[in-house]
């Protein structure tokens, strides 16, 4: 029998995937294309449906409706052991009764490969744990177990590797180190990684493409830079880094530029960066894009006046100001500590200014 599903390669495609648990909709009309060979991150808050999505791709859960395909092969209802997919589970799920060697060899043996020694030793060398091959998983540290879980999956050279928050249990230092190693392994073996995380920094540093998920839906998908610079929804603007979002009314639109009214001040932004069709919008600006000046000395095109500094915190590379505006909203401003910092103290009246190009406008969430 020629097993089409097991040997499928190509882009992973999810079409109109929906998953219900009783009345509860865990994943809602999900559409995704994950290009072959890419490092794809699925980012979202706890309970948004990330694990459920991975489990459907792995075949451990059946979608209520929709289709999953690898290249041209539909695998929606294929058994998990017939898919070209391997998973690194959230808690590793190493087999406690088998040695590390046998854990890693498990997938190869099940596919009837007799001579596993070379492949297993090669992958153990890749994760730098060859010397532990005769131990049992219980005798390994968390970080070592994690690497074995990766080795156990990639030794099979699947078309697709699913990683469900594999770094969640590690401390910060080991986490950073593993992020670099995983990224390196991915480039080395060249298979598609789908990495689930709720750590935005992790997603940004590792992935080529990030999909931000919220309440069972994809909010936005794109490169890390794209998501950060051009958030399309309030959720994305707040989930990836920090944003200042200010209520505004859309004024005139002169083709390339749109002007909006923020509490009486005229703020300009590129029309292409206005994601809302409504007249009432939220104007957004990242804290590090704003310049802070003593009152009245503004130079930038977009400026808001009469702020009062309520808090200053020095964090080494930058200084973070909290500024209360006349309409009682607190705005965040990050200034680089590059020596040119204005001599501003708590309680000072200030003006905030920035370039129109950095401004974006979003649909307000309610």
């Amino acid at each position: 029998m020629v097993d089409l599903a097991a040997s499928a390669t190509g882009d992973l495609q999810l079409r109109n995937i929906r998953k219900e648990f009783g009345d509860f909709v865990a994943v809602d009309d999900l559409n995704l294309t994950i290009p072959k060979g890419s490092f794809f991150a699925l980012l979202g808050p706890s309970g948004c449906g990330k694990t459920t999505t991975l489990r459907m791709i792995a075949g451990l859960e059946e979608p209520t409706s929709g289709t999953i395909a690898v290249g041209d092969t539909d695998i929606t209802y294929s058994k998990p052991y017939r898919r070209p997919v391997n998973t690194v589970f959230q808690n590793y799920a190493l087999f406690p009764h088998l040695t590390i060697f046998e854990n890693v060899a498990f997938g190869l043996r099940r596919r009837g490969i007799k001579d596993v020694k070379e492949a297993v030793e090669k992958v153990l060398a890749l994760v730098e744990l060859g010397h532990l091959k005769d131990r049992k998983p219980g005798q390994l540290s968390g970080g070592q177990q994690q690497r074995i879980a990766v080795a156990r999956a990639i030794v099979n050279r699947p078309a697709l590797l699913l990683l469900d928050e594999p770094l969640g249990a590690l401390d910060l230092k080991l986490r950073r180190q593993m992020q670099i190693e995983l990224k390196w392994i991915q480039t080395e073996v060249g298979i598609t990684f789908v990495h689930v995380t709720h750590d935005q920094e992790e997603a940004m540093t590792m992935a080529d493409t990030i999909a931000v998920m919220n309440k069972g839906r994809i909010e936005q998908m794109g490169s890390p830079v794209d998501l950060y610079e051009n958030p399309e929804t309030v959720f994305v603007a707040n989930f990836l880094g920090q944003s200042n979002l200010i209520k505004a009314t859309v004024g005139t639109n002169s083709g390339a530029e749109t002007s909006v009214d923020v509490q009486g001040a005229r703020i300009i932004l590129p029309t292409s960066r206005n994601r809302s069709a409504k007249s009432s919008v939220l104007v957004g600006i990242r804290p590090e894009k704003i310049n802070i000046h003593a009152a009245g000395t503004s130079t930038g095109k977009n400026a808001l006046h009469d702020g009062v500094v309520t808090d200053i915190s020095f964090v080494g590379v930058s200084t973070q100001y909290q500024v209360e505006m006349p309409w009682k909203q607190e705005l965040m401003v990050f200034e680089q500590n590059d020596g040119g910092a204005a001599n501003i103290r708590k309680g000072d009246r200030v003006t905030l200014s920035w370039e129109p190009n950095f401004t974006f406008a979003l649909d307000s969430e309610d």
Partner: protein, 263 residues
């Protein structure tokens, strides 16, 4: 003096408790060397004759053989049936599961004398002659509950993620069971089988009702106790105790050696 006493209180207590537990065993062992003749009650002098000829007492080895046969057979069947029930109860949701869970406990809670008598009444009503097979049936019945409870605890503690990982790694349903589920539950099954065997070997009350003319080892001792238990019974009892002890110690030693080798 009193400080020494308070410092060693726990040790003294432990020693006393152990002595209390082991006096009957020690007594049994000592009297297996008694040159007893008919009545093994008073110390008559040391001899190895009983150990040289454990089957010397009339019918004692027939009774022992029956007990072993019944024990192995009912352990084998009860372990298989009980393990399957334990998987069903631990793994699958079906109508009547909680009722089954409760009913499985009943044989353990029912007084043996009641169960033995009712079983006999049932066999008599069905016109079945009591003997070897009725004893086996009775033993399987009360062993199953203990097997189910023991194995189910092990099944419940098994992480379902491990089986998912196996399926993810190209193991089909059968291979997943054989390579992951079964090896992980095996210690529970082994413990259940040991328990079942010792329950069966030990049982007197239910056996007495349902074994007809067949004599088991406990029944033999009960019957001969009227006229005097032969010293060979002590020999066999001591031997059983030593075999069990050896198995336990061997298990510990092997386990420790393995743990050491891994480090």
């Amino acid at each position: 003096m009193s400080r020494w006493f308070s410092r060693n209180l726990i040790r003294i207590y432990a020693a006393l408790a152990l002595i209390y537990l082991f006096i009957p065993v020690g007594y049994t062992m000592a009297f297996s060397f008694n040159d007893a003749g008919k009545r093994n009650i008073n110390w008559q002098g040391f001899t190895l004759d009983n150990w040289k000829n454990p089957c010397g007492a009339p019918d004692i080895c027939v009774a022992l053989g029956n007990s072993l046969k019944i024990g192995f057979l009912s352990t084998f069947i009860a372990t298989i049936l009980g393990t399957m029930i334990a998987f069903a109860l631990g793994r699958y949701k079906f109508r009547g599961r909680s009722a089954t869970n409760l009913l499985i406990f009943l044989p353990m809670a029912t007084p043996e004398i009641v169960m033995g008598a009712s079983l006999l009444a049932m066999f008599v009503n069905m016109n079945v002659n009591t003997g070897f097979w009725t004893t086996v049936i009775a033993h399987i019945m009360f062993c199953i509950s203990f097997v189910v409870v023991t194995v189910k605890a092990r099944v419940a503690s098994l992480d379902p993620k491990l089986e998912e990982a196996a399926r993810d790694l190209y193991a089909n349903e059968y291979e997943t069971f054989r390579r992951v589920t079964f090896p992980l539950v095996l210690p529970g099954i082994a413990a259940a089988a040991l328990l079942a065997f010792s329950l069966s070997f030990d049982d007197f009350i239910i056996t007495n009702f349902n074994s007809g003319t067949i004599t088991t080892f406990p029944k033999f001792i009960w019957i001969s106790s009227i006229r005097g238990v032969p010293a060979q019974a002590n020999v066999i009892g001591t031997a059983m105790f030593l075999i069990a002890l050896t198995i336990v110690i061997a298990g510990q030693v092997v386990g420790n050696a393995k743990a050491k080798k891994r480090r």
